[in-house]
């Protein structure tokens, strides 16, 4: 839960989302390269759905970059894959 909790905390602090769902998909990738990464209990693959007013007027690439920047530490370390759905309220 450590990685997931830190993802949730950083996105909540950085983007004040009206909806945030972080799902740990690691078990679905068990056995393939990148699944196990050091001491992180296999927390390596995540899906994130996030709705935030901060995305208003931003392109998809800009939105993903905002998330990637907030999660730079996780992406450089334990997180091997991130599936992202980014929406502004009302989309």
């Amino acid at each position: 839960m450590k990685v997931r909790a830190s993802i949730e905390r950083k996105l909540t602090e950085g983007l004040a989302p009206s909806r945030l769902a972080v799902t740990d998909d690691s078990a679905r990738h068990a056995g393939h390269a990148g699944h196990r990464h050091g001491s992180h209990d296999g927390e390596s693959h995540f899906s994130i759905e996030i709705v935030s007013p901060a995305f208003e007027g931003k392109s998809r690439i800009e939105r993903h970059r905002m998330v990637n920047t907030l999660l730079a530490e996780e992406l450089a370390g334990p997180v091997h894959a991130l599936a992202l759905v980014t929406k502004a309220p009302g989309e």
Partner: protein
């Protein structure tokens, strides 16, 4: 100082209309996300160059820096970064990808 890997990336992007930086090859993708983008491009009948970053660690790091994007795959059309797997799939689903290819003058079957 110019990064030699960046020069190589620039060259690939100017030599090919559609370039996919991926894990594995179009025939044998080594990652589900890369495979998904290959599928999207194949469904659209787009000719593309798949570049396997797994065989070259300097390229694997280099493309992430070049694009300022931490994950793979990465799709480029006419030298412009389009997105990773989620963005490409979303754009394929709502017709934006076909519109982009048409706009850029890239041949596809649709």
């Amino acid at each position: 100082m110019t990064n030699p890997v960046f020069e190589r990336i620039q060259q690939d992007l100017s030599d090919n209309d559609v370039v996919l930086y991926m894990k594995g090859t179009p025939m044998f993708p080594q990652c589900g996300f890369s495979a998904a983008v290959v599928q999207v491009l194949s469904d659209l009948g787009v000719k593309f160059k798949g570049i396997d970053i797994l065989v070259d660690p300097s390229l694997r790091d280099g493309i992430k820096q070049f694009t300022n994007w931490p994950t793979l795959p990465q799709l480029y059309v006419k030298g412009e970064f389009v997105g990773g797997c989620d963005i490409v799939r979303e754009m394929a689903g709502n017709g934006e990808l076909a519109a982009l290819l048409k706009d850029k003058g890239v041949a596809f079957k649709g």
